[in-house]
Structures are given as structure tokens and as C-alpha cells.
């Protein structure tokens, strides 16, 4: 693998809560402009990976490198300024702010971009997720699906190098999922950035991602192209239980 193409590298990350070992010596890479799927059963440690990358938690051991620099233990806002943005599994938009204010917050504080003004970036990303007509209403009045889109817009407003999406499709209807996938596709066409995408819908991940990593009890059990992973016995075991003896 050409290492200059790697934007994010996790090096033997360990994380435990009390006696519970949630991540075990996790090694993982994300390449430039890559869409990486991260899957695994409930409680496998997927969200914890995001929390460790964005410095919500500090890993017990191991290091995180972003664009060649060590970012382990860097304050969360600095991680954002370096170019990593994210969404949360339980949507975290600011409910008492309008849609535009939410995106403005992300573009104002997300890092400096001399070529484009904050307002311009905010409006542009709203357009991207098709929320422009709703820009002046409070986020609390949005549907779950629109709030998810808003959170994605917030993550994109800072012009990230890498964005982390934590189950963006959870709780959405088929039609809404379709729209969300379209938005993500369009965003990837218009801008270049990498994505790590956590999702329970394995089929969508296998369809859409360039590469897939499978976690089970905090251990990486598979890492490769979707079709390779789909045929990996370890993956099948994790998802379908014990293989028939």
C-alpha cells in the first residue's frame, strides 16, 4: 500500500471501560478519498473507534496519525481544525438553533479556509443536502431524516479531509435512505474527502464502500474489498453465528 496515500492511521489502539476491553490492538488505515465501511455486531466497539479518533476518549494505548502527524490526545476542537469531522449515532444537532445557524456554527468554528467565506460555505453545504428551503426553521422542528442530513451538512461545512458517519441510516425509511445515499454520492462527486461509515445495514455498506473493516468484540476480524469480506468465513461467523460444523 502506498503509505503517502493514507490520511488516517490507527496504530495498535486499545481502549477499555472499567474491566471491559472495548478495542483490542486495533490497526486501521483510511486512504485519501476512500469510502471505508465499518461494521460489526452491537457493542463491537464501532462508535468507540470514532470517539477515540475525535479525542472524545483517549486510547489506553496506541497512537493515531492523521496526515502523517500524531494526533493522539489532541483536544477535540483541534482534531476538527486538522480536518476530521463527524456525526453522532444519536443525532447531535443544536435544537434551539435554526438550520442555517447549525451549519454556520460548523463553518465558523470548523477551521480556517481562506478561499471561501463562512456564510458561503454554510449555504453551499445546505444546498448540497437539499435543506436550503428549511434554513430558517429551528432544528427541533425537523424530521429525524432531515436532522441527519443537517448533521451531515455540519460535518461537511468545515471542508473536512475525513468525515466519520455513525449510522446515518438508522431509523430512516427506505425513501429517506435513498435520498441520503444520493446526497452522500453527490457530496463525494463535488468534493474530495474520505469517509468512515458505520452502518448496521451490511448490504448498503457492501454496495457502497471501497473497502470494509469488520469489528467483533473490539477485534478487527476482516479488512478488505466488499466482495472479499462478504466471503470471509470470520465475517459470516460474526454475523450468522457459529458456522455449521
Amino acid at each position: 500500500m502506498d503509505s503517502s496515500n493514507v490520511v488516517l492511521r490507527l496504530d495498535k489502539i486499545c481502549k477499555s471501560f472499567g474491566g471491559l476491553q472495548v478495542l483490542v490492538d486495533l490497526d486501521m488505515n483510511v486512504e485519501r478519498d476512500e469510502m471505508l465501511g465499518l461494521i460489526g455486531p452491537n457493542g463491537a466497539g464501532k462508535s468507540t473507534v470514532f470517539n477515540v479518533i475525535t479525542s472524545i476518549y483517549r486510547p489506553d494505548r496506541g497512537d493515531i496519525f492523521f496526515l502523517g502527524e500524531k494526533i493522539t490526545g489532541l483536544a477535540p476542537h483541534k482534531v476538527c481544525h486538522r480536518g476530521i469531522s463527524r456525526t453522532y449515532q444519536l443525532v447531535k444537532t443544536f435544537l434551539k438553533m435554526t438550520v442555517l445557524e447549525n451549519v454556520m456554527l460548523a463553518s465558523v468554528y470548523g477551521g480556517k479556509h481562506p478561499d471561501k467565506g463562512t456564510m458561503e460555505r454554510a449555504l453551499e453545504t445546505l444546498e448540497l443536502v437539499e435543506l436550503t428551503p428549511r434554513k430558517d426553521i429551528l432544528a427541533t422542528h425537523l424530521t429525524l431524516s432531515n436532522r441527519r442530513l443537517l448533521e451531515i451538512a455540519m460535518a461537511l461545512a468545515s471542508m473536512p479531509v475525513l468525515t466519520l458517519l455513525d449510522e446515518p441510516m438508522a431509523g430512516l425509511t427506505t425513501v429517506e435512505i435513498h435520498k441520503l445515499l444520493e446526497v452522500i454520492k453527490r457530496a463525494r462527486d463535488e468534493r474530495k474527502f474520505s469517509i468512515i461509515w458505520i452502518e448496521h445495514r451490511v448490504d448498503a455498506i457492501l454496495d457502497f464502500c471501497d473497502r470494509v473493516v469488520v469489528l467483533d468484540y473490539g477485534v478487527k476480524i476482516a479488512d478488505g474489498k466488499p466482495d472479499e469480506v462478504a466471503n470471509d468465513p470470520k465475517f459470516i461467523e460474526a454475523y450468522l453465528g457459529e458456522p455449521a460444523a
Partner: protein
């Protein structure tokens, strides 16, 4: 023309400015029609102005940034003591009485304290550390001021020369100016990019941080500005008392009254603390006649009752009544 003015005022952003300017003008001319030296009204308004200044400080840190500070009385007292100490020790070689240099320094002393205690207390994600920590600071300061008798005069406190007193006029107008200053400071901060960050922090610190907001910086900033306002209010009150001791300026009422004014008027709104200050100062002025001194527990209970039954304050009542009609 009238229509234009009317629609200008009805724009929500302009309403506040309009009423503030109108109020300022009315209060500026009141002394022309009253017997300033004898009137209770002048004293009442002077006290209200001081309450507005402290309450706006609390409004910024608690109402807008969502960090419940219980240290306003410590900052108020520290401001009062700073004024007395600078004067008595002839430190700045300036005029001392209503001296802007002294008043500003009396605001800055609490700022230094706020930064020193704010950084460790506000870097914890859990808000109760901050609430209890700031409450503890107030108690520590009272003990220190009682014990450091050589500097602070202990329980008896400090006496600054009262012979300079001539009239209530400068108290009234300085109070009015400071109240307007406090309103303006909080207004412009909350409408700037900083206010944006504060609102985000109030709603969800973790999310604000991962969108690039340096939360500690903005929390400490709001805390320090709140401390500054309490400090200059304390300075003005010291000029009025001439006798500064822990009982008079570090009293828990300087903590609870402003909080009560904010929650009653409406926290996190620019006019809430102003309305609350007028309302509560009036009630407590009457109350004092009967109870001599309202016990802090009374105001504590009132705060809880108001927050329970009127969480959005007087300002919020309008919206609540309107939405009930729907």
C-alpha cells in the same frame, strides 16, 4: 413615517434597543423631577441598577453559556474590597472617589480570580463541579477576608473616608451607566460569534467541541466577563457603603438575588434580568421593611419555585400564553 418607525420597533432586534434607549432617557431625567437626596425612589433605582449589573453577569455565564456559577457574591465582594484597599493604601495615586481607574481595577481583580478558578473548574465536563466549586470559592474568600485582619480589618472590615459624600447624584448616574454598560456588553457578546459558541456549549458541549469550538476558552471568557461586571458593581456599592465588611458585601444575598432576578425575568434573554431586577428589588425593598433582612434560604426557595413553575421567566410568559391559545 409613523408606520415606518412602528415597523422598525416591531422588528425583534430593534425592540430591545428601542426600549433600552427609551428607558435610559426616562431614567436619565427622573432626578430632574425628584428630590434626589431624600427620595426613596432614587435609592431604589440605584439598588436596581446594581442588581442589573450583577444579574447580567450571571446571565452571560449561566443563562447563555449554561454554566451555573455560584460565585457572584465572591466577585462582588472582591470588587468592593479592591476599591477600599486601593483607596486606603493610596495605590493608584488617582482620585479614588468615583475614580474610573479604581472601578476598572475592581472589576479586573475578580477577573483574575475567575480565570484562576475557572480553568480547572470549567475543564470538567460535569457542571456540578463548577457550581459547587464556585460556591466553595465564595466561602473560602469570606474566611480569608475574616482571617486576614491586618489587611481586611476582619469582621469589622474597612472604612473609607465618608466625608467625601455630597450627593446621591453620582451614585444614581454611575449606576445607570453601569447598568447600560452591562446590558450592552452582554447584548453584543451574545450577538457576536462568541454568542454563537456559548449557545452551542449550552446545548451540547461535546458536539460543540467536535465542531471546532474551544469550549474551555469560551466558558472561561463568559465567566470572567460575569466576574468583571460583579466586581465593578461591588466597587460602586463600596462607594455607597463607606464601610465594607464580609457581612455587607460577601453576603449570600448578592449571590441569590441576582440569580432570582434572572430566572424570574428570563435567563438567557437580554431583557429578562432587567425586568427581574426591577421586580425583585421592589419586592425585597418592601420585604426589608417587615423582615429587616431576607434570609438567603427564602430567596433560595423562591429560585426553586420560579424555576419549577415559570422556567422561562416573565419574558417567556408571553410565548407560553400565546402557545396555550393554539
Amino acid at each position: 413615517m409613523i408606520d415606518k418607525i412602528y415597523s422598525y420597533i416591531k422588528d425583534k432586534r430593534h425592540t430591545n434597543i428601542f426600549f433600552t434607549v427609551l428607558g435610559a432617557l426616562i431614567f436619565a431625567i427622573i432626578p430632574l423631577f425628584t428630590d434626589v437626596e431624600a427620595s426613596y425612589l432614587i435609592y431604589f433605582l440605584f439598588l436596581t441598577f446594581i442588581h442589573i449589573v450583577i444579574a447580567q453577569g450571571w446571565n452571560l455565564i449561566a443563562g447563555y453559556a449554561g454554566q451555573i456559577s455560584l460565585g457572584q457574591n465572591a466577585f462582588f465582594g472582591l470588587g468592593a474590597y479592591t476599591t477600599a484597599l486601593i483607596w486606603l493604601h493610596d495605590i493608584t495615586k488617582t482620585g479614588y472617589y468615583f475614580d474610573p481607574v479604581v472601578m476598572i481595577l475592581s472589576g479586573l481583580a475578580p477577573v483574575v480570580l475567575a480565570i484562576i478558578i475557572g480553568i480547572p473548574l470549567l475543564s470538567r465536563l460535569r457542571g456540578d463541579y463548577f457550581a459547587f466549586g464556585t460556591l466553595g470559592i465564595g466561602q473560602i474568600i469570606i474566611v480569608v477576608f475574616l482571617k486576614a485582619r491586618a489587611i481586611t480589618g476582619g469582621a469589622d472590615g474597612l472604612h473609607i473616608p465618608s466625608t467625601v459624600y455630597e450627593s446621591m447624584m453620582p451614585y444614581y448616574y454611575t449606576g445607570l451607566l453601569l447598568a447600560l454598560f452591562a446590558i450592552a456588553v452582554v447584548y453584543f457578546i451574545t450577538r457576536s460569534r462568541i454568542g454563537f459558541a456559548l449557545r452551542a456549549i449550552r446545548e451540547d458541549e461535546m458536539s460543540a467541541a467536535s465542531h471546532g469550538v474551544f469550549i474551555l476558552k469560551y466558558k472561561v471568557l463568559a465567566f470572567a466577563v460575569g466576574a468583571f461586571l460583579a466586581g465593578i458593581a461591588g466597587s460602586l456599592y463600596a462607594y455607597y457603603l463607606f464601610h465594607i465588611n464580609p457581612d455587607s458585601v460577601l453576603n449570600m444575598n448578592w449571590l441569590f438575588y441576582p440569580i432570582l432576578m434572572c430566572v424570574l425575568g428570563g435567563t438567557g434573554t437580554i431583557m429578562g434580568p432587567v425586568i427581574g431586577a426591577f421586580f425583585m428589588t421592589a419586592i425585597f425593598s418592601f420585604g426589608d421593611v417587615y423582615f429587616a433582612q431576607t434570609h438567603p434560604i427564602v430567596s433560595g426557595v423562591l429560585i426553586i419555585l420560579v424555576m419549577k413553575f415559570m422556567p422561562t421567566g416573565i419574558i417567556g410568559l408571553k410565548d407560553r400564553i400565546l402557545s396555550r391559545g393554539k
